[in-house]
Amino acid sequence: MVTSYLIREVLCTVMLATAVTASQEITDDAIAVSKQSSIIFLGTVQLQGETSFADVPKSTYTIVVRVDLILKKPTAVMLREGENVTVLVKDPAKFPRGAHAKFYTDGWIFGSGVSVKELGHEIRETILAANEERILSERINRQIEDQDLRSRVNSADIIVVAQVLEIRPWAAPSSDTRRRYISEHDPQWQEAVLEIQEALKGAESHLKIVLRFASSYDVAWVNSPKFKPGEQRLFLLAKDHITGEPKALVSGSQPDAYIALDPGDVLSITDAPRVRARLTN
């Protein structure tokens, strides 16, 4: 969390290029600020020191901006081109009335209107066609996805295409002296026995390995991956340093256990070519 705050603070101070074209080199700063932003749009400054709806606290740091082109927004947000939003900016002097800019923002307050916090901006002296802006945005998104996948590939202990043979309940062994906890948030650990069909990193084909996962659909664990016998998936796995028991029992031996808790730990087998490409580069 601290890291994310630091990144945000750094990004807020980033003044990106004053003009871009769809074909130009995309900077690391642009990728970083895009990744941090939940809402990215091109807009025209309408008012300074004002807000676009009543429930947003008005200050010298709030400006009203007309949304000209939406490049990124969360699915849940209802936002239309042509309407005004409130932007909480770091330096109001950089946004004179009538200025055109690309706003990299995060959501702030959603009510009868939309308000956002500025994470970065690009003043636009030259206005690109909407199509060019979208192409540029797509290029950035692809690079972000690429960076994320590369990071996952690098950090995974093993990467395998495997089939789930069996699901079995699992509890910490009796030598574990921790108490039993009466909680709705218990992960309800289970083990999936996997047969490796193709080893892409750190493993051998045809071996059986054990993967631990939280079977609970409690709000604490609902987003972590669940498995069923017979499923074939691409796994990017780390060794189990979470549950307190690093080894598992399979085929009479006790190899390292693995764990999958993040949705990105498991991909479709159709993603295998993309992953292979990151391994070879």
Binding site: M1, S4, Y5, R8, K35, Q36, S37, S38, D55, V56, P57, P74, T75, A76, V77, M78, L79, R80, L88, D106, G107, W108, I109, F110, G111, S112, G113, V114, S115, T177, R178, R179, R180, Y181, I182, S183, E184, H185, D186, P187, Q188, A214, S215, S216, Y217, D218, V219, A220, W221, V222, S224, I242, T243, G244, L261, D262
Partner: protein
């Protein structure tokens, strides 16, 4: 004993009178019922008086060991059990023989408002388990929480709702300093305080799955002096291995007292976990108080509390958790502790001793059974576990209500109950208050209004629908007025996560209103909301669909709903 037996005979005779009169004429029925009602009520009063004497005598015996022979003690215990049984039988008889008149409708407008803001009209998450805090001195300001994920913000914090117009409109901001979504969250604004915008306290549980469970369940006690500022709340304290924080706050002599009931897994192995975190300086420092003084192996997740202006604080929890074979149910005791100076003393929460073992903590009910299936949707897609609520009369801290859920053993899945103490928790009604044994219901929440009217919020699974009730009563539910806030399909939308509606909801009393929040299916159908409803999010009530900015259909989901209902006179 002989007196009690005599009364039972009298009681049975009275029952026979009703039966006999019911086969005669209508006028004689009325006469017999009128006489019977008076007689039964008088008998209940007499029995309650003798019960109090017997309990006091037994307490004297246990306070002065050796002063009573074992036979005398057994005699008192038997007399108490018999009186309790008599009172229960008389109350049941009273319910049948003397159907009371329904109280008047509340005068004034009932308000039900979907909390999802207009600009989040495309959201489809399961926003369950809502909670509400009201700024007492300026009740237009309110803060609400729910299992709403941070899927509209890219950075950090979990979201929270606020209103500054008395609940007509709501906004969402991501100011709770918990990553992405809370696993549990409750909010409070100290009552009787004068911070202009409401000094909001949140007790939020963050779940970090990169840590082993339950280290991953981290409690954040956070505060903001202005929930409308859009600024991130300050974390005042945090610690791991905590479950189900429940915060209440009260200002006494310009001192903000913050109370957080938690299930604390930092306690020693196989020992009590029910704990109260207390701050007497607005959350700057906290101390943790272990509440269960018995040799209990575990406590259940909920620890609920009620505070009064005279500094009295009651806390309720489930003790002596014993798993039953199979592990899908448990027996436990319902326990209440009390402190008359709000816990600000050397040995806090010792005021209520149970006459059976002379230990702190009055056992309201012993050996009740609850189903424990936290990962299984059991009733109307909802999981079943431990429900608990506690409320104190704001003008009489001796008057306390407790509500809980269990498996009553009559074939039902889950049953709610309400009982009352009018002597500061020393004795409790020996059976459920009239009309408060509620089958297949969950999410009990109780509050008492300034005029003594008690409110009861619950959600009942009826004919494959979740029906949300607010019941009000001037006389401990002998007569009552039931307001249906929502009646929605229970089979849709399909659950995404558990809890489906919540492990709790919220009811409070502010001036002449009951205010609260509940979660429900958000289909915009006026037939689902008999008391009316207002949506901020885009909806077409004629077509009964949620819509986007182009009028296209948006899938239904679970949303939090705010309500206010005028208190009956």
């Amino acid at each position: 004993m002989r007196r009690t037996m005599t009364m039972r005979i009298v009681s049975h005779t009275l029952s026979l009178l009703i039966v006999v009169s019911s086969v005669t004429t209508p006028s004689t029925i009325l006469q017999a019922q009128a006489r019977t009602c008076v007689a039964i009520r008088a008998e209940i009063s007499r029995l309650e008086a003798s019960l109090a004497i017997e309990i006091g005598s037994l307490q004297n015996c246990t306070n002065h060991l050796g002063s009573c022979s074992p036979g005398v003690i057994t005699g008192f215990q038997n007399a108490i059990a018999l009186d309790q049984s008599e009172i229960a039988a008389d109350r049941r008889e009273l319910e049948i023989a003397c159907p009371p008149p329904v109280p008047p409708r509340p005068s004034g407008q009932i308000k039900v408002v979907n909390l999802i803001p207009a600009r989040l009209s495309l959201e489809t998450y399961q926003d369950s388990e809502p909670f509400l805090a009201v700024q007492t001195d300026n009740p237009r300001i309110m803060v609400a929480s729910a299992h709403t994920p941070n899927n509209v913000f890219s950075t950090g914090n979990a979201p929270i709702y606020f209103s500054n117009d008395g609940g007509d409109t709501w906004n969402l901001e991501n100011t709770l300093p918990v990553e992405q979504i809370t696993c549990d969250v409750t909010v409070a604004i100290p009552t009787g305080q004068n911070h202009a915008q409401g000094d909001t306290h949140a007790a939020a549980l963050g779940c970090n799955y990169n840590l082993p469970f339950p280290d991953s369940s981290t409690l954040y006690e956070a505060e903001t002096a202005n929930p409308l500022s859009g600024m991130t709340m300050s974390i005042q304290s945090s610690r791991g291995k905590i479950d189900q924080p429940f915060v209440q706050a009260r200002t006494i002599s310009n001192e903000d007292r913050i109370y957080v009931g938690v299930n604390d897994f930092n306690r020693p192995k196989t020992g009590p976990t029910a704990t109260l975190d207390v701050s007497f300086d607005g959350g700057v420092t906290f101390k943790s108080i272990s509440l269960d003084k018995r040799k209990t192996p575990y406590n259940a997740p909920p620890v609920r509390l009620a505070t009064a202006a005279d500094k009295t604080v009651y806390v309720a929890f489930f003790g002596d958790w014993q798993f039953q074979p199979g592990g899908t149910s448990a027996t436990l005791d319902l326990v209440v502790v009390r402190d008359d100076v709000g816990g600000n003393e050397a040995n806090p929460f010792q005021a209520l001793k149970d006459p059976f073992d002379n230990l702190a903590g009055r056992m309201v009910v012993r050996k009740l059974t609850i189903p424990w299936k936290p990962t299984v949707p059991t009733m109307g897609q909802e999981r079943i576990g431990a429900n608990l609520s506690l409320a104190v009369n704001p003008n009489n801290s001796s008057d306390v209500y407790i509500g809980w859920g269990d498996q009553a053993g009559d074939g039902n899945i889950y049953t709610l109950h309400v009982r009352r103490s009018t002597d500061r928790g020393v004795t409790w009604s020996s059976s459920d208050l009239p009309n408060t044994t509620l089958r297949n219901a969950i999410n009990i929440a109780i509050a008492v209004a300034d005029n003594g009217v008690v409110g009861l919020l619950y959600q009942q699974f009826t004919n494959d629908r979740w029906v949300t009730h607010l019941v009000q009563s001037q006389n401990a539910f002998t007569t009552f007025r039931d307001t249906i806030l929502a009646t929605v399909p229970a089979s849709e939308p399909t659950l995404v996560a558990l809890p489906y509606l919540g492990d709790y909801d919220c009811l409070s009393s502010i001036g002449n209103e009951f205010r609260g929040v509940f979660s429900a299916n958000n289909t915009p159908d006026l037939a689902n909301f008999p008391s009316g409803v207002k949506y901020q999010r885009s909806a077409d009530f004629n077509k009964r669909i949620l819509t986007d900015e182009h009028g296209n259909s948006v899938p239904i989901s679970i949303d939090p709903f705010y309500f206010s209902v005028p208190v009956i006179p």
